[in-house]
Subunit: 387 residues, 4 copies
């Protein structure tokens, strides 16, 4: 009724596939994007399982081959929710087919793949085909507000960036050896899976790039039981359980980063604190509706203000509930969907671009190189511009 | 595919209508209720507006007359999301038509209406027709966990119940005189709108009833501008801006209650603290994924434990995201929908019943009576059983 | 060396006697009051015990009879740290002897005694003799800052005052029946002991008086074992375990108050929140270095600011440690001592006066009267001016 | 008077001299150490200033030459509160004179001095002369409780140590160039001043040693105005404003450390979090009465427990106030004094020893070496045993 529509196809129906499905339809319901998304097709290899998810989420159709999904005329945007080792092939094919592409993070498991993807996106862009990488946490309203406060000069020149992503689901040494613990499938461990988020977010919020790092990585539990039914045997963990690195930002700020799945009691603690010459900001994903802001110019009333980021004037909030009614994890996927749809409608490039995703991969590469060479300071290649 | 389905009709498409729409479909997507809900029809008087909401949320059809919705053969459950002064008529009609009914809180604006509704629900129950009142906050996982801890005896004999529901949207004396500020439409002010929630929740969590109260009420801003386009004129506020009351629970606990829309800076601060002989519990809706539990038997390590209620073993969590991935305000509507669907499938009575809703109205009535008589202690009529 | 000195005599050497001893000498060491206090004599009935405390705290001399202490020429200020039933006799005698008097709260156990004390203070005042009641928490820097923000109009017209003093040391039903649980010695239970603090503080911070109340009181454990060696027998608790009351302030604000020793897990939770038309303030004694301030005029950056009240520009802080170095419970006694010494030196009346202490007693009296008469609304006699 | 006494002499009367003065006398008043300290003499070069402080704090006598203080027969314990470049000379002389020595941290400004001091302490020890370095924060009750929980195995095998000491007093680029910013006087900047605390504390709490580091350091504001009256001229800052390093503990844990005076809004945020295989601990000096403990074995009730460390059964608390009555910054000095006095009385070695202080210096040395060599991994010399 009025709005133009756009056909969406999602590849993958597990954790991420469901989160994206909810994102597309919630965007349509609450956020009034300039293009109204239609949930055309959901793809997955197990026909029965994908059909079940598709029905529950309101998808019109299903596919068991991602190539078939890409070829559908009624699919205009391909959303890739599969593991990282498949991203490059699918994304490049979809772009070549003239479909807009949203690709889950990390962009790829290897730098070479990421570079190929960024090049493909750049080529497709000439034809008006848009691409975006799914660093969804950029769409947490408190994070978007943080970026705005930095851009408005409210914290001044940035001196410290302190970022942690702490989880604990590998604390138990008997937790099974899933694909996420195998370098061939996952590319890396905590570094790529969750470290990539804090690399992207700190660059996003500060508007600066990481230019060099010194790193260390550890695998605390080198051998784990195989997943059932092979749980009586063990296999080797070939990725990091935890990584930490020191960094320098392009504007001179000192960064400290840590990503781990071994921080007992921290379930999803993505924490960022930024200290500047005029003020500071602090965020914790376990309290995602909150941004803490220190205004260093406030004199005797200075202190960290706990901003409950649920007001209509806050980023992304206008379509949702009254003030004080919290958003949750999944809302970021709706915001991401709406942002991409609006960019397509406006003919602009959505962010973060594949080039931004490549920039994150280059930091990851430098971290791995430093950790392998006695933590020696390692510059990050800077061919791309971070948004 | 396999599950039986049930046709849902929602009446009302504003704030609550949207929240319930999201609830029904999210229940289907994530929670696998025993009956799979179909979004059959959405009713509202403005045909164009209701059609817009219906399309965005995936409703099959719309109605502009609630009676037409009730009469549809494909609607088996009627969900009433209209203002309180219409609840009785619609609910009684729907029950008479053999439809299961979910009715938003408060059950009604007057005790007489609430009594009639409870009686109608009791009659319908004999025919296997189920009814429930929408005190959705019972479905916040932290609240459900709190009830479980109390029921398991973890805090012992209850001595204190401290409940506040603090909002601030009437702080500004120039905020307009909406229907919520007129006694004919709203029944009461903060008392019925938000006070009803803490009355229900404290009875739910403790498993006890409020047996007597002493109350005071205030209207701080007695006259306000009319809504636009009549903003140049003012009208009289005929409901309370704030109410506070002391209470006694059936088990002997002392209660203190406060509901206000004038607590500057508190956006949606529904707070409950319960102190018992063995421990304590504390909750704040502005941090809805958290329950604080004090185990008084823990010796030198005792303290309030901040339980992040996002583990698969916590109430309602199994269908959602991994630990530490927060739920938001709207998830309670999905839990409520699933609970009602499962009760219907099992042939049991969902809770809270209309009788429970009536019990809340009786507390509200006693509060109003006490406030009108110099705060004198006023017993609460106890003909109903609280779940 | 330069400053004039003043001889201090303290009566009582238990909990309060020690706190005041530390207060007087820390005031001298850190706060540079206009009169330098000399710790002349400490009085107590047990000669050996008082001598031990006196030596450890640096008192020059001891007395075993408070009358002897009052008569000493080298004692110019008498500080009364004994139980409430002895305050009137000692204070009136000391004032009559021309000594300045600091009297611990509550001023007295009965209204009649409090009135006599206020009258004696008023008479002595004509001769330049100063008196003060020890509501020490007024000297917590965060509280003093709160009062300043209110006085500066930063929160506007006050609408809500929410005050609780929660402790848990009577949670255990086997805790012994000490003098604090006997009405003859203690006057009342939680009401006078800790409720008096929140009555005084809310009046102090708001600058308004409580003009009426509706109250309820409870004794959850009516019988307790006697203190050892009589622990095999039990006695009757004759004071309240907990009290709650609704209140109205002179400026129209609605107040809710609760004082209890049965709030499991709350050790010393004196909490005050004040909501006004422009902003709000919140304080918790269990986090005594912090004041939370909500500036309702801050737009999209509004939120409760956690002010760490340890800056040199904050009240009382100039003499202590660098920013961020916390003060503790006992520092209030040093601030109180310095305030009284400076008032004496300047020839002004220190606050809170005995009249202020009497005003608190009158609120306590109204609370008791209301609780005894079915919580009916009870006005508070207003013959005195609260500072 | 029962207890044996011991004569104390303090050298230095500024910030640290006052904190130690309060510590010695509060220990005597509240903590009943086995040796009762007598405040015999306070030394400082400015006779008038030192006499003023001495009188206010109750010192019997003063000296203007530290050598004179050491030679006094009535001084049995020398407490060194002067800047770090004077520690070695004074401490070695005092030990040679047979005096017990308490020396403020850091032990010395250079490794060579620290080694000489540790050797002198070892020699003196043979004669029953005791020595201790003043890492006072070990005496914060929450820290002592943390160590106990680790030692009791409550958090299992340690995997992560996350330590920050964040201050902000150099945020302003116009803050003057004091001696603390000159390498000759201060040895280093944030690293030695505040970084030394988190090095010592993490080793103390974990019971493990730091065995290697990778580090980076920064001076954000390289030139500052000289202190008045020379404020119109500027000088070069020759120490670090901030330092960060990665570390490995002897048990295999990964450490991340950061010390800065540029973290806007963080006044005294010494934060430590330790994640182990069974649980976790978290501490922040800006909330010094609190320890957060995560018991990973608690199932669905697991969460970080906010232990208010003010119970009589908690370390150091028995002599102070009732539960919930907070301690402040200065109380650690009283605990430190009592611990040293009790060790002397018992004939045992107080901790941390000069050898422990030397171990901290060696970590500092390794950090400086790594920062100077492109952050390359640098082992820490391990000739000493950390307590």
């Amino acid at each position: 009724m009025g709005e133009a529509t756009i056909g969406i196809g999602v590849i993958g129906y597990a954790f991420m596939g469901r989160a994206h499905s909810q994102g597309w339809r919630s965007a349509r319901s609450f956020l009034r994007p300039a293009l109204e998304p239609e949930l055309v097709a959901l793809a997955g290899r197990d026909a029965e399982a994908v059909a079940d998810v598709a029905r529950r989420f309101g998808w019109k159709d299903t596919e068991t081959d991602w190539r078939a999904l890409i070829e559908r005329d009624d699919v205009h945007l391909v959303d890739i929710c599969t593991p990282g080792d498949t991203h490059a092939e699918i994304a490049i094919a979809a772009l070549a087919a003239g479909k807009h592409v949203l690709c889950e993070k990390p962009l790829a498991n290897t730098l070479a793949e990421a570079e190929a993807m960024a090049a493909a996106a750049e080529r497709a862009r000439a034809n008006g085909v848009r691409s975006m990488v799914g660093f969804t946490y950029r769409r947490v309203p408190a994070i978007a507000l943080a970026r705005k406060l930095v851009a408005d000069g409210r914290i001044g020149e940035i001196r410290h960036v302190r970022a942690q992503y702490l989880q604990d689901w590998l604390t138990d040494p008997h937790a099974p050896l899933t694909w996420r613990l195998q370098v061939e499938r996952a590319g890396s461990g905590a570094l790529g899976d969750i470290g990539s988020h804090i690399i992207d977010l700190t660059q996003y919020v500060t508007g600066e790039r990481i230019v060099g790092v010194s790193a260390t990585a550890r695998t605390f539990v080198p051998e784990r039981p195989l997943p059932e039914p092979d749980g009586h045997r063990t296999g080797k963990v070939t990725v990091d359980d935890a990584v930490a690195f020191l960094a320098r930002f392009s504007g001179g700020a000192m960064g400290t980063f840590e990503a781990t799945r071994m921080a007992n009691g921290r379930k999803n603690a993505l924490r960022i604190e930024i200290n500047g010459s005029r003020g500071s900001l602090a965020f914790d994903l376990e309290e995602l509706n909150v941004l803490r802001f220190y205004d260093g110019t406030a004199g005797g009333e200075a202190g960290f203000t706990r901003i409950l980021v649920t007001e209509p004037e806050h980023p992304y909030l206008a379509g949702w509930w009254p003030p004080g009614h919290l958003l949750g994890y999944e809302h970021g996927f709706a915001h991401q969907a709406a942002d991409m749809l609006n960019a397509i409608a406006e003919g602009t490039d959505p962010e973060p671009s594949f080039a931004d995703g490549l920039a994150v991969q280059r930091v990851i590469g430098a971290v791995q190189a430093s950790a392998a060479r006695d933590s020696v300071w390692t510059p990050v290649e800077q061919s791309t511009q971070v948004a």
